[in-house]
């Protein structure tokens, strides 16, 4: 059976174009007459100087219309609940429904972060236990749950490096952060935010860290080295011991970008490999939903010698009670007002409890099996190539190049990606990592079964065939999505860009009238 896909396409107006002057979508309880008697009207409380004169120009819809509008829009969106989402580096796995139910419990939704410790023992226990579990999984000494995402964790990690070198009296000197050319963009960007100069080193012809280049790059100016292992090609950095030794003997800190932790759960731990700081993308490895871009969570684990730099407060347990400890004189300070994205962390807690130690290891194994199986299935497709050692197993993902196809037919990775959408698959990550030309970065995760992988391989083969036989079809793809190819250039051109309804109105010559 071949599946046919046609995404809903409602041509749904922008919310501001809907509704009617008198409609209401929500009502509040009435304010008691006695309150008015006591305090008067708001207009009497507020001097004109600081009072809002015109109502904000929000739309006026009934509750029914709001539900319909956003439900229709949801139908014009694709998620893991609908199908295969092999977006490399993003680990688009199943997001358990149970965890959504748990996160709606008033025991978390209706808890204020400044409540007395006596009243929040349950949530503190969850956070404390989760820290211990994540430390065990990553082989680190202490974990801080506060960062809101992976990049936030990277920023924290870079700040910890900085604090460590400063305490050693090396702060000024150690100003360089090394990253491989295959690194995700957040790595160098986070380094810059923490005040480091970024030094980029090339990968070798196996797609791994070029050890000689690393040896040349390290010096007494080195603050640290950021690496993900397996790397963004899905290849395990087998020289990790030499890499760690090189960085450490130069006095640097080794940082682990945890975006690719999924395939090594229970198999090998970053801490054991010599990484001093590790971030975890909870929204990748631990099955919490991405929500169209977030919220996620990016906990950071550190070795014993770096634990004193973690942000405050730390959740501590004296055997009877859980407490928040602010007394950490060497702490880098604060990166989050409270304790992190607790609702997301709660889901990760439930995820680990559901899978257990064995289930997490199985997760790793099947994610790797799926990636290698798919790689095998795709390898003999003409026009596709597998850069770097073809015989080396990959871990969570494999990166193909359509460079040959592009040369022969003009069909690029972008076209292939767009055509995949027509079949009801999300596209792989494209044009990343930067060291692979015309890259298709494919990460199937453990959440999809053999049938789906086979179907994907068949369709991709079909698409490549089409590229040779009927390339126009690919150039005009997608056709089955809510809208055909979107003009992204227009969206960013200063003259045509419309970043809000207000900007759109102004550019169309509408002036504001009272509302």
């Amino acid at each position: 059976m071949t599946r046919r896909f046609k995404q809903a396409s409602w041509n749904e107006p922008v919310v501001f174009e809907l509704g009617n002057a008198k409609r209401r979508g929500f009502t509040f309880p009435k304010v008691d007459g006695e309150i008015y008697r006591k305090v008067g009207e708001v207009n009497q409380l507020l001097p004109a100087k600081i009072r809002r004169k015109n109502l904000p120009r929000l739309p006026r819809l009934s509750e029914v219309e709001v539900v319909r509008h956003y439900t229709r829009l949801s139908q014009m969106n694709y998620g893991v609940d609908l199908g295969f989402y092999p977006l490399g580096s993003c680990t688009m796995k199943y997001n358990p429904k149970l965890n959504e139910t748990l996160a709606e419990h008033p025991g978390i939704t209706m808890l204020h972060p400044n409540q007395d410790e006596e009243t929040v023992q349950g949530i503190l226990e969850i956070l404390y236990t989760l820290e211990r579990w994540l430390a065990e999984i990553t082989g680190t000494h202490e974990v801080c749950l506060q960062p809101a995402a992976g990049a936030h964790g990277e920023f924290l990690g870079a700040l910890i490096m900085r604090a460590y070198h400063q305490l050693n009296g090396d702060g000024e000197k150690r100003s360089e952060l090394i990253v491989p050319d295959s690194a995700h963009g957040t790595n160098p960007a986070s380094g810059t935010m923490a005040g480091f100069k970024i030094v980029v080193i090339p990968s070798d012809n196996e797609g791994c860290v070029d050890l000689n280049a690393l040896k040349e790059a390290v010096s007494e100016r080195t603050a640290g080295f950021m690496l993900t292992n397996p790397n963004t090609l899905g290849i395990f950095e087998k020289n990790i011991k030499e890499i760690a030794d090189t960085v450490h003997s130069a006095g640097g800190i080794l940082y682990y970008d945890g975006a690719n932790l999924n395939p090594i759960l229970g198999k090998v731990r970053p801490g054991d490999m010599g990484f001093d700081i590790v971030h975890i993308n909870i929204h990748k490895t631990f099955g919490t939903p991405h929500g169209g871009g977030g919220p996620g969570a990016g906990p950071v684990g550190v070795s014993k010698q770096l634990a004193k730099f973690l942000p405050v407060p730390r959740v501590v347990f004296d055997g009877k009670r859980y407490r928040l400890d602010y007394n950490r004189p060497h702490s880098i300070g604060k990166i989050q007002c409270f304790y992190g994205n607790v609702a997301v962390l709660l889901k990760a807690y439930a995820y680990i409890l559901s899978l257990g130690a064995k289930g997490l290891e199985k997760t790793a194994e099947i994610s790797v099996l799926n990636a290698n199986y798919l790689m095998k299935k795709l390898r003999n497709i003409t026009g596709l190539s597998l850069p770097y050692d073809e015989n080396k197993p990959r871990k969570h993902e494999c990166v193909f190049s359509v460079e040959k196809l592009e040369k022969q037919t003009g069909i690029s990775a972008l076209h292939v990606a767009k055509r995949l959408l027509d079949y009801g698959f999300h596209a792989p990550t494209i044009y990343f990592p930067l060291i692979v030309k015309e890259a298709l970065m494919i990460e199937p995760t453990e959440s999809f079964e053999k049938e789906t992988l086979d179907e994907f391989a068949e369709i991709l083969k079909e698409i490549v065939k089409e590229a040779y036989e009927n390339p126009e079809k690919l150039r005009n793809a997608p056709k089955n999505t809510a809208v055909p190819r979107v003009d992204e250039v227009k969206a960013s051109h200063p003259r045509t860009m419309m970043l809000s309804w207000k900007m759109y109105k102004r550019k169309n010559g509408e002036t504001r009238n009272n509302y």
């Binding site: 929000l58 996160a103 972060p113 992976g150 169209g292 994205n341 607790v342 257990g356 102004r506």
Partner: protein, 464 residues
Amino acid sequence: MAPYSHPYIPNSLPEIDEMMREIGIKTIDELYIDVPDIYRLKKTLNLPESHSELEVKQHVEKLLSKNKTCKDISVFLGAGCWPHYVPAVVKAIIQRGELLTSYTPYQPEISQGMLQILFEYQSMICELTEMEVANCSMYDWASALGEAARMAVRVTHRNKILIPKIIHPDRKAILRTYTEPVGITIQEVNYETGTGQIDLQDLRAKISEKAAAVYIENPSYLGFIETNMEEIEKEAHEKGALFIVGVDPTSLGVLKPPGEYGADIVVGEGQPLGNPMNYGGPLLGIFACRGDLHLIRQLPGRVIGMTTTVDGSQKAFCMALQTREQHIRREKATSNICSNESLCAVAAAVYLALLGPEGFRELSEIIMLRANYAIQLLSEIEGLHVPVFDSIHFKEFTVNFDSVNLTVNKVHRRLLEHGIHGGKDISKEFPELGETALYCITEVHSKEEIDRLATILEKIVREK
């Protein structure tokens, strides 16, 4: 490998064998052949066993039930995370799997839903603040402020930021975290002792051609409304500094929007707009700026634009101005942010669409009326000084216990015995204000709840 099957992992034994055969391996272990043996984990992780759905549910619910929530006790806390009602519609929409389980909309054709909602979110934030551009979220208010400070420095090529002395101490700490590594100086502007308002003399003394921005919060951390926004704006712009304003958006139904008094950048906390407190996270960082290209080019984070399809046949949405971002600009990006708080922005969009202009004004009014009612009632209690500052307050206010010789902590303990959680103890944050607590009232606090708070407080003060 154990013949172990878990509901989250579909592939089971027969397929696994088939797949291994296809790859040409006998054991899964062969796929880990390049992992040096010295590092291979030789034990099973010290974690719990696998549990069934029912067991997980019962276990987690049992832990969560240990917490005392706003349902069990009356909680009067705010200070950066506020109790507000989340309408049922908001919960229903954000649980739609198509939205919930999608990634960042890198492929716009198949992600129009999320893109349009985020565009609507941005647009509604622009309407509330009267700015022309908003991004589709930052982690929280504090990180938005940190990014705003850095943006101001990039725009002006200066490196000092003036901030009010009255600010959430954690927000200030995070601002330092974001600015100190790149050598930005933070300087505090004093407040007028009686009113808490920005001391304009002190602002004039401190501002100079070195200032990249003046940052003001309205309402302030301690809940009062800053009335001299126009004067402050004038000082900032005369010296060529940007004017950054921090807001609690629920005030913008009654307070003048920052765009009308000359703000260049607006930051704030969007959690009150349809997002539960969740013990402090996730939050929703609001970030908006004027529609000036010099500013837009330096904007951090993702921004969604309205465009058309390539064939020009219909409107469409996609991420805009990506060349500012880390995946393209790398170490020169305007920010490192990648995953953000999109689903919280979706919640905010649905919330604002539900309320509409009149509903939104009503929200602000109810909050302000009830908070001011509470202020009146508490100020009638002999010996309490409520509020500490002689200014207009919006939803939070200070209560001082110095005259009755009680510590905030003692009052808090007594209140808790009556099932009331009093305001946040700020006596260590602002020692100059003595034994003072910061109370918060929103639309979720009924008149009866406020009356009861007053009755019990009076009893505590009388019986001390």
